[in-house]
């Protein structure tokens, strides 16, 4: 199946989960990454059970914060 990751279309295996995609994409510090699929945010605890579908649009957002 084909999905779009951060604007780039790519072929992945059917039923790929968000957790597997994070590993495949070598996402650094995944504990601080927010994932959206088709503009819906996926809870961190659901990465391993959220299977992607053909045509899905995935974005990885690094948490950005700080303090003075």
């Amino acid at each position: 199946m084909f999905i779009t990751v951060a604007g780039n279309k790519k072929e992945v295996k059917d039923g790929l989960t968000v957790a597997e995609l994070i590993e495949q994409e070598k996402v650094e510090t995944p504990q601080y990454v927010t994932v959206s699929v088709n503009d819906e945010f996926v809870e961190n605890g659901n990465f391993a059970t959220t299977a992607l579908k053909d045509g899905d649009n995935v974005e990885f957002l690094y948490f950005m914060g700080g303090g003075q």
């Binding site: 650094e28 959206s36 957002l61 948490f63 950005m64």
Partner: protein, 136 residues
């Protein structure tokens, strides 16, 4: 070196002043040429912490900004935030939460309300380097 158009600087400054006493924050986007970064657009986001000591970007606004960058052919270059009561330098918290060593971190100090100071930093681990921001 990193450059920032004066018009975009004004947007950061006005947004930060408007949000006092809370910290204000946002994203920066533009082009990379060799070792130089040229900011072309700043994004003004909501500090969901609504605090004068902390900031976190609103994830929905963050996502919308990333999409806008892509549509406009801009690269994400980092983020900016204000320090209402402290100098323009990364705090321990800023360093701890700087996960992207490729990003530039702009910090606007409003400690002296009449003389705001904006600097850009490269942060890697506990080391922060001033990138020599040029407002033009």
């Amino acid at each position: 070196m990193i450059t920032l158009p004066k018009t975009e600087y004004q947007k950061i400054l006005e947004h930060a002043q408007k949000n006092l006493p809370e910290e204000a924050c946002g994203l920066i986007a533009g082009k990379i040429e060799g070792n130089d970064k040229h900011i072309e657009k700043v994004y003004l986001l909501t500090n969901i912490d609504h605090s004068n000591e902390h900031f976190s970007l609103d994830p929905k606004e963050h996502l919308a900004a990333i999409k806008d960058m892509r549509q406009n052919g801009l690269s994400p270059l980092g983020n900016w935030h204000s320090h209402p009561e402290s100098p323009s330098r990364p705090s321990q918290e800023d360093k701890r939460l700087a996960f992207d060593s490729k990003a530039s971190y702009l910090i606007l100090s409003l400690m002296d309300r009449e003389n705001p100071v904006l600097n850009s930093f490269h942060i890697e681990g506990d080391n922060a380097t001033n990138e020599g921001l040029v407002i033009e």
